[in-house]
């Protein structure tokens, strides 16, 4: 036997990662080298075209460029400092807002394809704006083309459920105070509360009456209070809410409480009638989701900072209009990739069942896009029944989502995971190559207009939008890195 010392041809001691049939590792084990196994799933669901695209995108020079682009996008997202700076009317504050223009949740859609809750909200909006005096008139107007429809996302805005924004509605103004997009603003209406509300397609007089109270009493009071308080750091508020048991989508109780605490002293100092002040505070208190309409524009503001980074595969939008689910990717801002909105799996309020449910609706998936909601499920043991029942499931969901994200949030930490940051920056390529869809927490709307919320649960986007986005991204990369297209 030879006793000579052998040199190595590879740097480091042999250390093998094996993928695939386990039987093939006997030699590694026998020689005593370090060995680890990696499980395997066919990328792109095994579809030959998608396997090809993902293979092209995994090639070293390309993958390197995409990685650096994703780092930039994620850094811009993390550096964004969304602050609540005021309340204004949609017409005055939202860029591109006009009379006769209604904004809605989700990707673009016309009246004829709108689902019940969105149609109901449009009717309510027309009544509120005084464009029609009866629901029938409102419908006729909407279907005639006299009302134009555009997505909130096309106007730096977001809206939960139907997400309807009409010109006269008051909106929160959120402004970026840091990083790449300094000064850029995002917008969202004020949350109306639970039950029969416009965002679930209700348009009865009680709904319109409440909206008028918000417009004439609540919004001016909040605007004045904010002038006194100065900008409110929303990211910080969100960080505290996550440590108090919110996940920022289906549970917003802590965030709402923190916001009231922030604003109450300034509201109390305003020259308001006592009953207006009391009603305003009671209104916010009665609605656990009041903070959602602030965390959503906060998330939108941060994700806008990541937009327009060539070669980045980070998602910047996930949203639904009740008919379609749509996503956008950082490197292709403004381009929609859509598929059918799915049914939500969840728990129903007494008296309702799956047959009452509308398909998935609302811009609130912006929360998951920014790494909270379903991605921060581990922070919210109080609502675990929505995602399968146990605290362990909630932890597992957050860990699973970390597999499809680019990094960990630098501000939002989860106590039950040793203060690890929430999984942040959904990577289109990880979703496709690991066959793993984002998990979205959401409310369930009744499919008829005006009934309201009938439950809450978990939903996944349809694969179609990711498949479309992959094709477009592959093309974008091949055009941006032209040398790659050369034949070998």
């Amino acid at each position: 036997m030879h006793s000579q010392r052998n040199t190595r041809i590879l740097p480091g001691t042999p250390w093998i990662i094996h993928v695939g049939m386990d039987d093939m590792t006997a030699g590694v084990a026998a020689s005593g080298a370090a060995l680890a196994h990696a499980d395997f799933q066919p990328p792109g669901g095994g579809d030959p075209r998608r396997v090809r695209m993902l293979t092209d995108l995994a090639e070293a020079p390309v993958a390197e460029r995409v990685d650096s682009a994703n780092k930039i996008a994620l850094e811009r997202f993390q550096a964004s400092q969304p602050h609540l700076v005021g309340v204004g009317t949609a017409l005055d504050t939202i860029p591109g807002m006009e009379e006769g223009l209604f904004l809605h949740a989700g990707p673009p859609i016309g009246w004829e394809r709108m689902s019940g809750p969105l149609r109901g909200a449009v009717i309510g909006g027309a009544l509120l704006e005084g464009l029609a005096s009866t629901p029938t008139q409102a419908e006729a107007l909407a279907s005639s083309g006299a009302i134009r429809f555009q997505p909130c996302h096309a106007h730096q805005a977001v809206g939960p459920m139907a997400g309807l924004v009409t010109p006269s509605m008051p909106v929160w103004i959120v402004e970026d105070h840091g990083g790449h997009n300094q000064g850029k603003r995002s917008f969202c209406t004020l949350n109306e509360g639970l039950g029969k509300v416009l965002r679930y397609g209700a348009f009865s007089s009680e709904v319109l009456e409440r909206l008028r109270f918000m417009e004439t009493t609540l919004a001016p009071a909040l605007a004045a209070a904010l002038e006194e308080s100065g900008p409110v750091d929303l990211k910080l508020l969100m960080a505290q809410a996550l440590q108090m048991g919110d996940e920022g989508h289906n549970r917003n109780r802590a965030g709402t409480s923190l916001l009231i605490r922030e604003l109450a002293p300034h509201l109390a100092a305003l020259p308001l009638a006592r009953e207006d002040l009391s009603r305003s505070l009671a209104f916010m208190h009665a609605n656990d989701h009041f903070f959602l309409n602030l965390s959503m524009p906060m998330a939108k503001c941060m994700l806008m900072a990541a937009e327009d980074v060539p070669l980045s595969s980070m998602l910047t939008v996930m949203c639904r209009n009740g008919t379609d689910f749509g996503v956008q990717v950082a490197s292709m801002p403004g381009r929609w990739f859509t598929g059918p909105a799915m049914q939500v799996r969840g728990l129903y309020f007494p008296g309702f069942s799956a047959s009452d449910a509308n398909p998935d609706i609302g811009d609130s998936a912006i929360m998951e896009t920014s790494g909270i909601g379903g991605f921060a499920m581990a922070a919210a043991p109080a609502i675990v029944q929505f995602v399968g029942g146990t605290v362990a499931d909630a932890l597992a969901t957050t860990r699973r989502m970390a597999r499809i994200t680019l990094g960990r949030n630098s501000t939002w930490a989860i106590p039950s995971l040793d203060f690890l940051g929430t999984p942040t920056g959904i990577d289109l390529l990880r979703v496709e190559s690991l066959n793993l869809l984002p998990a979205i927490n959401t409310g369930i709307a009744h499919r008829e207009p005006g009934v309201g919320q009938v439950g809450a649960g978990l939903v996944s986007p349809p694969w179609e939008c990711f498949h479309q986005a992959l094709s477009a991204f592959h093309q974008h990369v091949m055009e941006t890195i032209p040398h790659h297209a050369e034949p070998v």
Partner: protein
Amino acid sequence: MKEHILLHRGTYHDSAFLMRISRELGALDGVSEAVVVMGTEMNRALLLDVGFSAEQLASATPMDMLVALRLEREGLVSRVQERLEQLLRGGTRSSTASSGSGEPRYPSLPEAMEALPAANIVSIAVAGPYATHLAHQALAAGRHVFLFSDNVPLDDEIRLKRLGRELGLLVMGPDCGTSIIDGTGLGFTNRVPRGSIGLAGPSGTGIQELSCLVARGGGGISQAIGTGGRDLSAPVGGLMTTMALDMLDQDPSTRVMVLVAKPPDGQVADELHRKLRTLSKPVVVRYLGRPPASARDGVNYCSSIDEAARLALALSGTPSSAPPADEARQPPPSVRGRLVGLFAGGSLTLESAEILRRHGIAAHLTHQLLAPGRALPPQPHFLVDTGGDLYTRGRPHPMVDQDTGLELMEWLGSMPDTGILLMDLVLGDGAHPDPAPGLASTMESIKRKLGAKAPLLVCSITGVARDPQDPAAQRGILEQAGARVFPSATTAATFAARALRQQHRGNHHA
């Protein structure tokens, strides 16, 4: 006969696991056939071809598991389903070898590489169409690649290897059976000692045979770099073989290099020759299946694997021990009839055909699919590569699974006009854990049928004493069954040829 298809959605399994499930379900009473595959286009077309209905297959995706059944009677489906659930619950790992071994397991390759930045080699054994994606991920993360998978598109191979060279990373494969890198065996390997002889080339079994002969001759292996079955084809042009040779030339532990390969395309052989001339260390080359050759421009072209091993040992200064060729000189019996060669891989099939030819026996390398009841090749003597595509589609490699080889052995060996069964037994890690008993019992069964007319079994064993199967024990079992056993394909074929020629001579004298 009832055809039935079960569809399991969204459950991907590797082929080894699927084959195990197929076998278990096929063994159930009343199940005449069970084929378990993933719903890829190719597999769906395959099932359609053999008579399953299009509607049931239409909705399957590559992520869905298809269980295609032929049942002897109604009412069996629920029993099959029950057994299937049981098997799925029992765990989806294809192997017992590494289960419970405590080796860390990660949910995907990127996550494993992120967690283990010091891991330097990624070994890939997944279905061909998916292998390129993983190999690119590994290269992009700066890891060397051992790519066991076959059916990888040629363009992918070229791109991977070009990129590997650019990045200074090995791309061993696709279709790479064997490598030993820094003492670590990848794929099918034998537990040979480390030493001063470096091996490289596309032929996995060739590397195994050489490494074992070097070890038996008292030498050791510095590195063995498998480069994948197509590396010396014209389109690939030896991209990895030349890189491997350069690495061996620079490796201080390597004193002699051996290249073992099926004969390259003409232009590739010329370019490779120019490359070999420039290397600073002695180079020994064996192109399998080539007629006798000699040194040219300082490159030692050899006439057999055995000769290559002897020369490498001599050039490395290893004190010579008994030359293995002597073993072929034991007196052969006189044998009449047909020679049937059954091999587990193309390399030794090719090499054996040439050795036989050299000794006056024309043995045809048959490319027709042989199975009990089918026609025989027209030639008097023929060799079968049971590791070829005809036999391995949807089945495990014959070095792991003996079924095909033993079935052919029983059928062809039971023909009274068969005089010699020439076979190879490749041992080592990755190979069948105990192959000799299968051959011995098949031989007994043939003898029960034919008595004294049973053919002579001539078998080579590729292995070393430290291999898990224990070559001495394997040899003992075969010899007990009347077989003549040799330490190399060269010696086995030489012996077989001489046995047949004695018969010819005997006929002349008669």
